[in-house]
């Protein structure tokens, strides 16, 4: 069947297997008849080709919970359980996931494999900083337990390792105690990029912080944005809630995307035009997952799909580098209206994890021929500023750019060779990047 990531580009004819238990994963992985490359797949929310290969192993049925410990605040579950399902179970205990991506339909295994970050990276680090341990099925058929102490090399290569070390079967997560899941939000408009970055720095004490940047504004207004800050409210609900919204039933002509996003952005700007909105209370779902309310919004970019370009630049060069990037995007008129800017805290020790201390920006581009030279140009700016691109969003980075920006790639390959000497686990992405 034809598979693709969230960006609907690229596409690949693949055998999608849905093993019903860890034992059937073992059976398939140890079967030598499946000669071609294998890769695990969770919720399919990575944008590009990291979960595409000849044979794709879905974690859909690794969907059981094993234990919740409300004394230690930990939960153990199958790698196929989604963030949404975890939230449903833990919220009534007054617990919350310490790191959340922009969609709740990511699987726990996918979150480990990309070592995802949330709007609180500057304070709480990335997802795997809250992973106590996991079990990993290796190509040999052996299952090993990994933590920051036990099989440390395998742990550090698997966290952020995009499925290339094996299949993550079960994960134990450390959870966070929260007073409620009502979120107190404050939104501050910023006239341009400089002002936005100043505001981010000034508000570093805020638990969650993310800016929506208008990447089409030019000149004085370059990088005009709205900074959204948030905390869990002391008084509020402890109820899990699923908002129900519309669905995009089929791919729409891609020109709609800018009308659509423009309206969203203008709405939020409109509300803020006069003043900062102070302490508005919203449900966690609306704050953390604003786009989940529109099912299949990725179809808005049309049949050819889209590319999300997410970069990070280190603190030293972030201000000038980001200016150059946004300038380039706004001149091209190609980026989507809304882009997202966040500040990262320090990096961790995982070999292929994306975050480094600095600023990260993500911009969506409709998939069209003319966009590729522009992205190459952006790659050069990113490299010149010692930055890198996020593997979970990537579908087109070159091997050279990858190897120049992920300094630990050789160490990663050493560990991979030990865990998977015959290189059974490989994706379209890992082959493109020269990792397999």
């Amino acid at each position: 069947m034809q598979l693709h990531g969230w960006g609907r580009f690229p596409r690949k004819d693949a055998d999608l297997l849905e093993p019903s238990s860890p034992e059937s994963f073992l059976e398939i992985v140890s079967k030598k008849e499946i000669a071609g490359p294998l890769i695990a797949r969770g919720g399919g929310r990575s944008y590009g080709d990291s979960a595409l290969a000849d044979t794709v192993l879905s974690s859909r049925f690794l969907d059981s919970f094993l234990e919740i410990n409300s004394t230690n605040n930990t939960i153990r579950c199958g790698a196929g359980v989604s963030m949404d399902t975890v939230l449903k179970v833990i919220i009534p205990y007054g617990l919350f996931l310490p790191v959340l991506p922009g969609t709740k339909y990511v699987s726990v295994g996918g979150a480990v494999a990309a070592d995802i970050h949330g709007k609180n990276h500057h304070r709480d680090g990335s997802f795997c900083d809250h992973v106590e341990r996991f079990s990993l099925l290796l190509a040999s058929g052996e299952t090993i337990e990994c933590s920051s102490i036990e099989n440390k090399d395998a742990f550090q290569a698997t966290c952020g390792g995009m499925g290339l070390t094996g299949v993550i079967l079960e994960v134990t997560l450390k959870l966070e105690k929260v007073p409620s899941v009502t979120i107190k939000r404050k939104s501050i408009p910023a006239a341009n990029l400089e002002e936005c970055m100043d505001l981010i720095e000034e508000n570093e004490g805020s638990k969650h912080s993310v800016a929506w940047v208008d990447c089409l504004a030019k000149g004085e207004e370059l990088g005009r944005s709205v900074l959204h800050l948030a905390e869990h409210s002391e008084i509020g609900t402890r109820e899990y809630k699923l908002r129900k919204g519309p669905s995009i039933p089929f791919s729409t002509p891609s020109f709609l995307i800018n009308k659509f996003t423009t309206r969203l952005f203008n709405n939020s700007l409109y509300k803020l035009r006069k003043q900062t909105t102070e302490g508005r209370s919203v449900n966690y779902d609306a704050y953390f997952f604003p786009l989940d309310n529109i099912r299949n919004w990725n179809r808005l970019y049309g049949g050819k799909g889209f590319i999300q370009y997410q970069l990070v630049l280190p603190l030293e060069s972030a201000r000038t580098g980001l200016r150059e990037i946004i300038d380039c995007v706004s001149e091209s008129g190609k980026g989507s209206f809304i882009s997202v800017l966040k500040k990262f805290g320090n990096k961790n020790e995982n070999l292929l994890s994306f975050p480094i201390a600095g600023y990260t920006l993500s911009v969506d581009f409709k998939n069209e021929k003319k966009v590729f030279p522009l992205l190459k140009q952006l790659d050069e700016i990113v490299l010149a500023n010692n930055g890198r691109l996020y593997l979970a969003k990537d579908s087109r980075m070159s091997e050279d750019v990858f190897k120049a920006s992920y300094q630990s790639w050789e160490k990663f390959l050493e560990v991979k060779k030990e865990l998977d000497p015959e290189c059974r686990f490989a994706s379209l992405q890992s082959t493109r990047l020269g990792l397999t």
Partner: protein, 163 residues
């Protein structure tokens, strides 16, 4: 709500029991594989079930049905809903040429269900409340052969359940 699920590790029973767990139901599970029952009961407990008990049973061993149902009754006290979800997907061709196989399928998909329905409905009548439902496959209604083994439940149960 107090729910008895027979064939509890089948995909459909698992999905149903997860939904009821979220509503803090008390569950009693019956299935053949103890390890899978243990896993499922952990999963349902984390998902919010008020209590989960289980009983290991081979469904074709109809003599043990009385005991299983009475265990369910002691664990749940009152049974609000009993769902029979077990079944196999018989191979029509093999059944047509191998009597042993056909008899086995009839036991799994036919006799065992009648036996369970009999025991459970006695109990529900005593309670004077409760619902008994048998989950069958639409495949049984589709393009039925003269003697269709997949269609057995669809043919038989309407009568037994009404009895």
């Amino acid at each position: 709500m107090n729910i008895l699920l027979v064939g509890a590790t089948s995909a459909i029973a698992k999905a149903i029991s997860r939904l009821y767990s979220e509503r803090n139901a008390r569950l009693f599970l019956i299935a053949r594989n103890e390890a899978r029952l243990m896993e499922l009961s952990d999963d349902l407990t984390v998902r919010g079930a008020q209590s989960v008990d289980f009983h290991v049973m081979d469904i074709t061993d109809t003599e043990s049905h009385i005991n299983a149902v009475s265990n369910a009754k002691s664990a749940l006290e009152n049974i609000d809903l009993a769902l029979i979800c077990h079944g196999s997907l018989p191979d029509q061709e093999i059944c047509e040429s191998d009597f042993e196989q056909a008899a086995q399928e009839i036991k799994i998909n036919g006799l065992s269900v009648i036996s369970l329905c009999t025991e459970i409905s006695k109990l529900l009548k005593e309670q004077n409340s409760g619902t008994l439902a048998v989950i069958t496959s639409v495949a049984g209604d589709r393009g039925r052969h003269l003697i269709s083994f997949t269609g057995l439940p669809n043919l038989w149960y309407p009568h037994t359940c009404r009895a």
